[in-house]
């Protein structure tokens, strides 16, 4: 590439840097502020008198004897039973990711290798399914689930989340398998493998980059879901996000508000760490979506 093209004037560099700093402040600061505030008491995080109290921890010092406190964390994890919610989130996330990858790889592999016309209609149907707002699906679940008496438990929610997740997983893995050369498994077929064997021994070893990306998106859906979990689980089985909302619903005493703040931090931190590691896959997945609709 010609280097002259990428020479920037000093002004441009300055303006650009200022803009990026400004943008980063907007996107990151709210999280840093919440992290900082979660170690204070409510009177500081929401300080009527003087907002700098949130920085200095004026009331925190009076109430607890130090400028930072982990009281909200300890209380929400024990008394607030956030441990249970996080365990449920773990169960739901791990199950949803593994089941939906298992179903998705099989389906997407078949779609990418079949030359018949119906693959096209299946993909279009998946696209339509993907666009359905989750809440409209939930309104269809509730009545049958009550009748069948399977409402409120984790397995139901897991299967529902897997199904909701399938269209996107199928599309993503379909475009990934299209990039895997056909000759690979065709040669195995000629050597006498069945399609399942070809999938197991030829495709599985090379599919991990695509699977990681698809798994990341399944994870984000299961981990972040509010609509499905809030309406399909009973209070006891709540995952983290509906649990946080439940803390807010009960503001009889001031402590609960800080429970929500500290739980937001507890719930967000692991997610950010995972994304930090898999950032490249996340972006490649989003881009694949852009190319393939």
């Amino acid at each position: 590439m010609d280097t002259r093209l990428n020479k920037y004037s000093k002004q441009l560099i300055v303006i650009n840097s200022i803009f990026i700093l400004f943008w980063l402040t907007i996107s990151i600061f709210p999280f840093i502020w919440t992290l900082w505030g979660s170690f204070k008491v409510k009177a500081d995080f929401f300080s009527r008198a003087e907002w700098t109290y949130a920085l200095s921890g004026f009331n925190t010092l009076i109430e607890t004897g130090a400028t930072t406190t982990v009281k909200a964390y300890i209380e929400s994890w024990t008394e607030g039973e956030f441990w249970r919610a996080s365990m449920n989130t773990m169960i739901v996330t791990v199950s949803v990711v593994s089941i939906s990858l298992f179903l998705g790889t099989l389906g997407a592999y078949a779609l990418s290798r079949s030359t018949y016309k119906y693959t096209f209609y299946i993909l279009i149907a998946a696209l339509i399914f993907r666009a359905m707002p989750h809440i409209t699906l939930v309104s269809g679940y509730l009545f049958p689930f009550f009748q069948l008496n399977i409402w409120g438990i984790l397995p139901t929610t897991i299967i529902v989340l897997v199904a909701i997740n399938q269209p996107f997983t199928l599309w993503l893995l379909y475009s990934f398998f299209k990039t895997v050369p056909k000759e690979l498994d065709e040669s195995a077929l000629i050597d006498g493998c069945s399609y399942f064997q070809a999938f197991r021994y030829i495709i599985m070893p090379v599919m991990w980059p695509g699977v990681v990306t698809a798994g990341l998106f399944s994870m984000m859906l299961a981990y972040n879901d509010f609509t499905v979990t809030a309406l399909l689980l009973n209070q006891e089985n709540y995952t983290m996000v509906p649990k946080i909302n439940a803390y807010l619903g009960t503001i009889e005493y001031g402590g609960n508000y800080m429970w929500a703040v500290s739980s937001v931090v507890s719930a967000t931190a692991p997610l950010f760490m995972i994304i930090w590691f898999f950032q490249r896959q996340l972006i490649s997945g989003l881009t694949a979506g852009a190319v393939k609709g």
Binding site: I20, W33, R48, T136, S139, T268
Partner: protein, 342 residues
Amino acid sequence: MPHKTFFWFIFPTGLAMLLFIGLPIVSSFFQSLHIENQQILMEVENCDPFGCTTNVRVDVEATEKLKEENPLGRFNGIGTYVDRNHLAFDEIGEAWNSSSSMGEFKDTVLNLPFYKALLFTLTFCFTVTPPVIFLGFIVALSINTLAKSIKGLIVFGTILPMIVTPLIGSLVLFWMIDSQGIIGASIQILFDDPNLSLKASSNLTWITLIIYGIWHNTPFAFVVFYAALQTVPQDPIEAAYIDGASRFQRVRYIVIPHLYPVATFIMLICLMDNFRVFEPIIGFSAEGVAQSLSWMIYQDLRNENKMLFGSAGATSMLTILGIAILLTPVLIRTWKEFRTER
């Protein structure tokens, strides 16, 4: 691949999608044609020394029995669709006849729950999307100029608002704009008005929600634009440079035309995603002044003891209709792409 093998490969995922996406839509439609059972009333005569009085009471036993026999309620046809809480044809007709001016008519209609929610949903959709595309493009352009060593870190910072779930994202912002939070308090000082609160007026709440929407959606537009920027051909840019085009002219006449299809894609996805706006309304506790279609469904279903399946079903069907309209261009696009591929 032979049909039989294909079938076994696609069967598990197809079954999951049919059972839990296809069937619920049908079930939702079926529910929307029914309405909750009426309570059975009975007259009870109470006699005391001063005479007899008749009271009307709910016959609990008979109501329970009816509910057991007919859990979905009684058939109502399209009654739920046209009732006051949905399309409200009667109310609109009445308003048309009784209103003296267009403005009055408009006010009456937009006070009906469904139209109120539709107005907010559409306003949200169409005011969030253009700034998202614009901002996403600018951020992508400026991050693209950075040195490779710091790009990763900055891209990570940029995509954070998109990663967190809307409920948490809106809560985080909500706590800051609270009149006792950092931004809320600063605004009060800035405008020297101790009673100013972003939660107080409905206009300010709408603006807050829209700003949240832009904050949440821009990273997505950024990522897609950023990836597309890597595919811009270098030759025409170089040629333009030799011909003396300024940096702005190169972006305006070469880069932007190259990105048009990508921008259309972002716009459609943004419109579709924002049409289901729901979690921010809960996060910002904005139920009072801003309702969306999805929020209406949630409201019908959240009460465990008295769920309005019929009403929720009808709103769901109308929402799906809206999505279908927004989805048509995407479908046509995919259709064409597929045709050319073969």
